[in-house]
Structures are given as structure tokens and as C-alpha cells.
């Protein structure tokens, strides 16, 4: 354990960048420079944090020097550091894609500032050790995301962003109810302290109820069954860059919180809560992928796949063995990277051809071979083909599931994999195969570069799977020993 | 204690008054009725807080009372302007 004042930097860099950007709404070039600098600094510091927590240490910081159960605590363990690095990489990729695609109108209305604020919320959620502070960071993230979603204001976009806002406000209200109930039971808001008090609480029934409330809240935010209905409608209406950031990053913040609270706080009735998680995981992945069958739009199909993939992560959490948790974490990282890459390629397709409707596309592979290759690699990685990163995530999860004898849900997981492959092939067959339609030859290297880099990373994650699995197993072991986190935050 | 009896009585009366105002606010039937009702509600809330401060011999409610008084005045002005001219902010 160490007391480190600097671990709040991943929150402060984006905040400072956003403030600077607010000062110069019309100077787009300077805005880009500031945003890129802030996010690069965040990523570098996150990598440092990862190397630091890799040794098993947990860095803790108490804001304003108030001691742990009273003040607000930030704690960075291995899981937080992994998430920070993954989100940092993706944030930079999406930022660079925004440079080429988002358009002057949005840029002059503080697009980059709100993008940075959103990342401040994301990073804060990963770091905070206080459940009310978590609520605050979630609100920062959500409010910025409302703005990013509504910015530009086309009719359909506004309608969907209104829906998105209403649903998230309802979820946030429930979140607050859950926090209030938890406070009523334990008398504290510090997550480590809550974890201690929860073990000693007399009314375990009420705690299970609270656990269910939290499951619903983050179920809505992470879009798990049966609360995913809003996602495939609202995401595709946003501009491609925003879509990539939302699809790649935002839903996974909800999953991260589920991982955090269901390994730290609500571990008293694992037989009940975690069986529900397994069931939900199975149904979510199946229904998500079935939703793609009738869709003929690239971005809609990809949005349904977000849901399906979240099922795998929840499954890893539900099985709750070290191996399964490691698989779940690996899968989150893999998914953040690959999903963003897919949305970015869809965005590039949109830029080059003006549509993502599969009926209107065809022969892209011949017209734009690099785009086709990137999409192909990202798609099979999502479906889980070796040696790409998706394979190892699923492989570990399936082995863990077999070890824990959850045969039915593993069968569902394998079936879902095949269906995912099938629907990726559907996109590929319609959009990339066949005779090219009349496309203008264009230079699109810089549009595609962020997605290509992410795909290379996915490949690297597959090739370096041994190292990656080592890291995520360490994170999973750390998660399964909550007393480490508790002593780090509260002291011995 | 006499003061206790008096403040309790005052609180009850103010509460009843608030009830009547609420009735008028909901029933209407015209916009000016609702306007006067909402203004009276804000005045009564101020009175309520002051009486409460006397009852508990504390000053903490005073600021809240002041804030409510200011905002109540402001909202009444805005609504009156709307009533007269059809819009809150004039265009020049």
C-alpha cells in the first residue's frame, strides 16, 4: 500500500484540457492540440500506474487529506489500472478519428471540451473508492455524453438522445436510492468501509435487495438483459466518432462497476446474486446476437453486438472463480479495443460511401482493400478466432465455465460465438464482397489509421496472450481477496 | 411555555393557509388566481420558516427564508410580465 497524491492525475488531465478548451471555442487547432496532449498524458500516466500496481500494490489517495472512512478516497488497484490503460488507448484513437470526421460545426461548439469531460468521468469512475463519488463521476460522464449525443441536432438524433437521457436519469435516480439504502444499512459511503460493515450487518435480506437495485442500475447503463432496449436505437444515430466512444467505452464503465461492487461489497450471498448474473449473462449474449439477424445496417448490427459481448463479461463475473474473472477482465479489455475499431471502420465506411446500409453497399474490398482487411480482422477478432484477442477471452471464459460445471450457459456462449461470426460474415458478404459499386477513389489512410492501430493492438493482445493473461489473473486474484483493497484503503 | 403554544398555533394556521393556496393553485380557474396563489405560497413559506426559527431559537432558517423570499418575488414578477405582455422578456 502507498499513499500517493498523484493517482488523481488521470482525472485532472482531461479536466484541465477541457477548461482550456472552453476558453477558445473558435480556435479549433489549439483545441485539438490541447485535447491530444491531455489524453496522451493521461495514457502515459495510466501505463505508469499499471506498471506500479502490477507488483500487487494498491495506490490510495484521500482527497483534501481527510482520513479514509470520512473523506473521499481514490484507490487504484490492478483492475482500475488495466481499465485506465484500455480507456486511454481507445480515447486517443477516437480523438484522432474525430479530428478528421467530426466537422467544424461541432468542433466550434466545444465538442472536444465535452469529450474530455466525458473521459474525466470515465477515469474518475475507475479510480474512486467512494460510492457517492462514483455517482458524481457517473453523472459527469452522462451529462457530457448527453451533450455529445445531442450536439449537431439532427431530428432523429435529438429524439434518440432525449430517450437516452430519460432512461439514464431514471437509472441515476435508482442509483441514488441504492446508495441511500446502503448508507442506511452501513452508515458509510466509503466502499472499503461498506464492505467491512456489510459483512457484519444483521439484515442480510435487505442487502440482497440493495444488490439487486445496483444490478438493475448498472444493468441499464451497461445494457444487459432485459434492460438493453435503448442501446441499439440510440447509438447509431450519433456521429460515428461519438458512436465509437460510446460503444467502445461507456457501456463498459457500467460493467467495471458491476465487477467492482460484486467482488467487493455484495459477496455475502453469492449463491443467489451470482447465479442471477450467470443467467443474465447467458440470456444477454444470446438475445443480443439474435437481435442482429433482422438488421441490415452496419452500425445497428454492431450496436446489437455490444449487448451480446457484455453478456460474456457478466458471465465471467457470475461464475466467480479466479479463472472466470480473469477471462471477464481480459474480455472487457479486448472488447473495448475491438468494438471501437469496428465502429471506427463503420464510420470510415460511412465517410467514404455515405451510407452504412448493407443493401446499398457492395464490393468495398476491391475498392478499398485496407478498409476491408481492417474490418475483417476486427470482425473475426470479435467472433473469437485465434490468434486474435477475442479467442483467448472466450477460451478462458469457456474453460472456467466448464470447470465450474455451468454446461448450459457455456453451450449458449459457444453458440453465440458462431452466430457472431455469422453476422460478421453477413456484413462482410454484403458490404465488402462482390462487384464494387461506383466509388470514387479517395485517400482514406488517415481516417482508417486509428482503427488499424486498434486492430494491431488486438493482434498483439492475442500474440502476447500469455503476458496479458498473467496480468488479468493477478487482477482477478486481487479482486477475489477484498481484504487487500480494504486494508489498503482503511489501513490495517 | 406560552411562546411554544403561540408558535405551534401559528404553524398550524400557516399550514392550513398553505393548503388553501394549494387548492387555489390547482383549481385555478384563471391564470391570475394561480399567480396570486403561488405568490402567497412563497410568502407563507417564508413566514413558516421564521416561526420555526422562533420556536427552536435558531438562526439557521433565516437564510433559507431570505432566499425563498427573493426567488418568490422574482418568479411573481416574471409571471406578471407574462400575464401583461404575453412574454417574459421584452424584445426591443
Amino acid at each position: 500500500m502507498m499513499q500517493s497524491n498523484w493517482i488523481i492525475l488521470p482525472v485532472l488531465f482531461p479536466l484541465f484540457g477541457a477548461i482550456l478548451n472552453f476558453f477558445m471555442p473558435k480556435r479549433v487547432k489549439a483545441q485539438k492540440l490541447v485535447a491530444a496532449t491531455a489524453l496522451t498524458a493521461t495514457l502515459l500516466y495510466s501505463i505508469y500506474l499499471l506498471s506500479y500496481t502490477r507488483t500487487g500494490a494498491i495506490a490510495v489517495f484521500s482527497a483534501s487529506d481527510w482520513p479514509a472512512p470520512f473523506g473521499i478516497v481514490f484507490a487504484c488497484d490492478l483492475l482500475s489500472a488495466i481499465m485506465l490503460v484500455a480507456s486511454g488507448i481507445v480515447a486517443l484513437a477516437v480523438l484522432f478519428y474525430s479530428f478528421w470526421s467530426i466537422g467544424q460545426g461541432r468542433e466550434q461548439h466545444n465538442y472536444y471540451a465535452f469529450y474530455l469531460l466525458m473521459l474525466m468521468g470515465v477515469n474518475g469512475s475507475f479510480l474512486t473508492g467512494d460510492i457517492f463519488n462514483l455517482y458524481v463521476f457517473f453523472e459527469i460522464l452522462l451529462i457530457s455524453s448527453y451533450i455529445l449525443m445531442a450536439l449537431g441536432g439532427e431530428k432523429e438524433q435529438l429524439r434518440e438522445s432525449f430517450k437516452y437521457m430519460v432512461i439514464n436519469i431514471i437509472a441515476s435516480a435508482l442509483f441514488l436510492v441504492g446508495v441511500a439504502l446502503l448508507y442506511a444499512v452501513t452508515g458509510t459511503l466509503n466502499m472499503a468501509d461498506i464492505a467491512v460493515k456489510v459483512q457484519a450487518a444483521s439484515d442480510q435480506g435487505l442487502l440482497t435487495v440493495i444488490a439487486m437495485i445496483f444490478m438493475i442500475v448498472f444493468g441499464i447503463k451497461a445494457a444487459i438483459f432485459p434492460l438493453y432496449f435503448w442501446l441499439p436505437q440510440s447509438y447509431p444515430t450519433t456521429p460515428p466518432a461519438v458512436n465509437a466512444a460510446f460503444g467502445g467505452l461507456l457501456a463498459k464503465v457500467g460493467v467495471y462497476v458491476l465487477f467492482r461492487i460484486f467482488t467487493l461489497i455484495f459477496i455475502n450471498d453469492i449463491g443467489y446474486t451470482h447465479s442471477i448474473l450467470i443467467f443474465i449473462g447467458g440470456v444477454t449474449m444470446l438475445l443480443g446476437v439474435l437481435g442482429t439477424v433482422g438488421q441490415m445496417d452496419m452500425r445497428r448490427i454492431l450496436s446489437f453486438h455490444i449487448i451480446s459481448q457484455i453478456g460474456y463479461m457478466i458471465l465471467g463475473l457470475g461464475i466467480f472463480t479466479p479463472l472466470a474473472l480473469a477471462g471477464g477482465i481480459y474480455f472487457i479489455v479486448h472488447n473495448i479495443i475491438v468494438k471501437t475499431a469496428l465502429f471506427l471502420t463503420a464510420g470510415v465506411t460511412d465517410q467514404l460511401t455515405g451510407t452504412t446500409d448493407l443493401h446499398k453497399l457492395g464490393g468495398l474490398l476491391k475498392a478499398y482493400p485496407a478498409l476491408g482487411l481492417t474490418f475483417f480482422l476486427a470482425g473475426v477478432s470479435l467472433a473469437g478466432a485465434p490468434p486474435l484477442s477475442g479467442f483467448f477471452g472466450k477460451f478462458v471464459l469457456i474453460v472456467a465455465g466448464l470447470e465450474a460445471q455451468h454446461y448450459l450457459v457455456i453451450a449458449v456462449a459457444i453458440g453465440t460465438s458462431l452466430l457472431t461470426l455469422f453476422s460478421m460474415m453477413k456484413i462482410f458478404r454484403y458490404a465488402f464482397w462482390g462487384q464494387p459499386r461506383e466509388y470514387q477513389p479517395q485517400k482514406y489512410g488517415r481516417f482508417l489509421a486509428p482503427a488499424a492501430i486498434l486492430v494491431v493492438l488486438s493482434l498483439a493482445m492475442g500474440i502476447g496472450a500469455e503476458w496479458m493473461l498473467d496480468v488479468v489473473s493477478a487482477a482477478a486474484t486481487q479482486l477475489l481477496r477484498p481484504e487487500l483493497y480494504i486494508t489498503a484503503v482503511l489501513g490495517a | 411555555m406560552l411562546i411554544n403554544v403561540v408558535t405551534n398555533f401559528a404553524l398550524v394556521v400557516i399550514t392550513i393557509c398553505l393548503g388553501f393556496c394549494l387548492y387555489r393553485l390547482i383549481i385555478g380557474p384563471s391564470f391570475p388566481d394561480r399567480l396570486v396563489a403561488s405568490d402567497t405560497i412563497s410568502t407563507n413559506t417564508v413566514a413558516f420558516l421564521i416561526v420555526l426559527s422562533i420556536k427552536y431559537t435558531t438562526q439557521v432558517f433565516f437564510d433559507a427564508a431570505l432566499v425563498i423570499a427573493i426567488l418568490g418575488f422574482l418568479s411573481t414578477v416574471a409571471m406578471s410580465k407574462f400575464l401583461i405582455g404575453g412574454s417574459v422578456f421584452d424584445r426591443d
Binding site: N5, L20, F23 | D63, L71, F73, G85, D90, R91
Partner: protein
């Protein structure tokens, strides 16, 4: 053509400084009693809105030529700096220093750097509220 109300104009002129001073009072005592930057900012914007109502948007802009949108980043920067300086001095983020000082008329008072943070919040709230109000008013 706008309708003028002399009663309203006179009252809002008189009340202006009373509310401003009240909001200043709320701001200054905010760090250890009910109050603080948020409510003080709301009160200040209330006075501005009152001027807005009484004199109309154009006069308002002549009396108070401030770009309210710029207040938002200024406030954010103030709060951010207040939090960040302790970090450079080796203390945790947001650590507040406080002490006592003797002023000529007021006598001994307690000061705290938390007030600077509140000041930042105050600017942000005024900026946001007035931006919204003028966006509605000028539509």
C-alpha cells in the same frame, strides 16, 4: 415596443445591492456554514435576471457588459487551481489551508483557501445560469 413599469424599475434598482450583498455573505461564509458558491451564484443571477426583466436585454447588456459564457471556464480554472496548488506543495488534491488574520475594521477573521474554490463555483453557476437565461430571452 416594450412596456415599462416604473414601479418595477425603481424596486429592482433598490433591491439590486441588497441581494448582491446577501449573495456575497452567503459566498463568504459558505465553507463552514450553510451557503457557499452554488447558492450565492444563484442569488447573484437572480439579481441579474431581475434587471433583465425590468430593463430588457439590451439595457442589461449596456449596464453589465460581461460575456457570461466566459465566466464558466474562468470559474472552473479558479476551482481547479485551488485544488491543484496543494498537489504541487506535496499535499493531497483539494487540501485547504486556513488561519486567522486581523483586518482594520472587521477585527479578527478566519480565512480559508476553500473560499477560492467556492469563488470558482460561484463564477460557474453565474455563468451557466445567465447563459441559459439569455439564450431563452433572446430566442
Amino acid at each position: 415596443m416594450r412596456s415599462r413599469s416604473f414601479i418595477l424599475e425603481t424596486v429592482s434598482r433598490l433591491v439590486l445591492f441588497v441581494i448582491l450583498i446577501f449573495s456575497l455573505y452567503l459566498l463568504l461564509r459558505g465553507h463552514n456554514a450553510p451557503g457557499g458558491g452554488f447558492i450565492a451564484g444563484l442569488m447573484t443571477s437572480a439579481t441579474f435576471v431581475l434587471q433583465f426583466l425590468a430593463f430588457g436585454p439590451t439595457n442589461q447588456r449596456n449596464i453589465l457588459p460581461i460575456n457570461f459564457r466566459l465566466l464558466i471556464p474562468v470559474g472552473l480554472l479558479t476551482s481547479f487551481t485551488t485544488g491543484f496548488v496543494p498537489l504541487l506543495l506535496g499535499k493531497p488534491f483539494l487540501t485547504s489551508a486556513f488561519g486567522h488574520a486581523t483586518l482594520p475594521i472587521l477585527g479578527e477573521i478566519e480565512w480559508a483557501t476553500a473560499v477560492l474554490f467556492d469563488l470558482g463555483v460561484y463564477f460557474v453557476v453565474v455563468g451557466v445560469t445567465m447563459s441559459i437565461i439569455s439564450a431563452i430571452g433572446e430566442e
